[in-house]
Amino acid sequence: MEKNILIVDDTQMNRKLLKEVIEKSIENVKVLEAEDGFAALEILDENEINVVILDIMMPQKDGIEVLQDIKKKDRLKDIPVIMWSAINTIDSVEKALKLGALDYFTKPLSPNDMKVALPLKIMNAIDYYEQKLKLIEYNEHIKSEMELAQNLQKSLIVEEADFENVSIYGKYIPTEEIGGDFFSAKDVNGNTWFIIADVSGHGVASAMLSTMISVVYDMSIQTYNKPNIVLRQINKLLYKTFEGYRNSLASAVVGLIKENQVYISSAGHPPVIIYKKDEDEIDQISIDGFLLGVMEDANFDVIQYDLKKGDVLFLYTDGLFDNGLGIEFFKAENVTAYCHLNKTDINYDIKKYVDHMVDFFKNKGTKGFIDDVAVLSILKK
């Protein structure tokens, strides 16, 4: 495909000389000319230009001003600009390069410039622009795909729902467009299942793994009636997956609310917090369990708790308390401590309570959240 090269110089003889050099040494190019900065900008607006050769010293609108105008426009800012200038304006050359000009050469042109240097500089600039356009296109494609993936992931996570026996409210905050944490709550045959899971790392790989967990979980809760068995199914799948991909592990809590009982099983996940309304107490439910994908035939424990009207379960992933400061291992205790200190607010507005909790921990570190965060509250009706 023919490349368009724009020569901008107020001296006709200079334009003619450059045009001859370019047409003689580079194939498949068309040379356009502009005698001043205004004409140059007009040609740039109306044509697809691949390289601009720009004289610095021009009346009314000099090359620096033209360069600045080019760099301000989204459509034009990536076009390579080669400045050319007399030696005694080296300060201007420096300024031009700092403004983003790709290269420069000085007047007058030597025979070597005409034969070798200038054609090579222009061909390099043409290649550079081609690569840059491909990169821009690729980035836009990736961005668009990530947006689709993000919307898909968001649709799989229901942050707020009202069931017959419970209402849920949660928040999901990935560090990148998509992440490896997720939670879910569903009514199956009049009972409420819930899960919160955390795939280590974040980004596309973690998101894919968490989607796999979500699918196996959805299928298992239709078949089994114990959370520890559901975890076993998830574990079997992940063990096979992690045999070939050792860069990830997962933790999870799966629970089942049946009438006034909750059954909870954990795979190496931070403790579940329970607020008992009648006693106005906060309790921490810690269950030891293998991380998912570590041991093929892992068994998981299940514990049973009474759950009365007004009681609230809080589940979260370690991104909530991991501020990267590395001071303590058991920062999960900080979450329980927070719930304890603020328990009087739980009864007023559970959504505000969860929002405040998330804000509190986000502001605790100097960099905000450094890992994906999921928080889920379950209020027993």
Binding site: S200, R246, L249, G268, D288, G289, F329
Partner: protein, 102 residues
Amino acid sequence: MDIFLKDNIFIFKIKTDLTATTIKGLLINIKNQIDEYKEYEGIEMNLEEVKSIDSMGITFLIGIYKIVNKENKKFKLTGVSEAMLKLFKTMKLHEIVEIEKA
């Protein structure tokens, strides 16, 4: 990381935190060592100077364990603090990996 070879057991003494930012380099280094000397009989990871560990750090340790376990070789964590041991017990890591307290 300090590396020793004693009675055909690699001893890797970790001197940084075990977090997402540090593990990549450690993993490459360890893999290079065990690839170069396949006659090793086991790995000991000394965590005495590790002050912080996150989920990627745990993934890293279990990743090394799985590599070694696949070759039927020994794996041990040493210099483990009380707090770290408590974390490992939450994940039942002590049931599959030999752990020695600091």
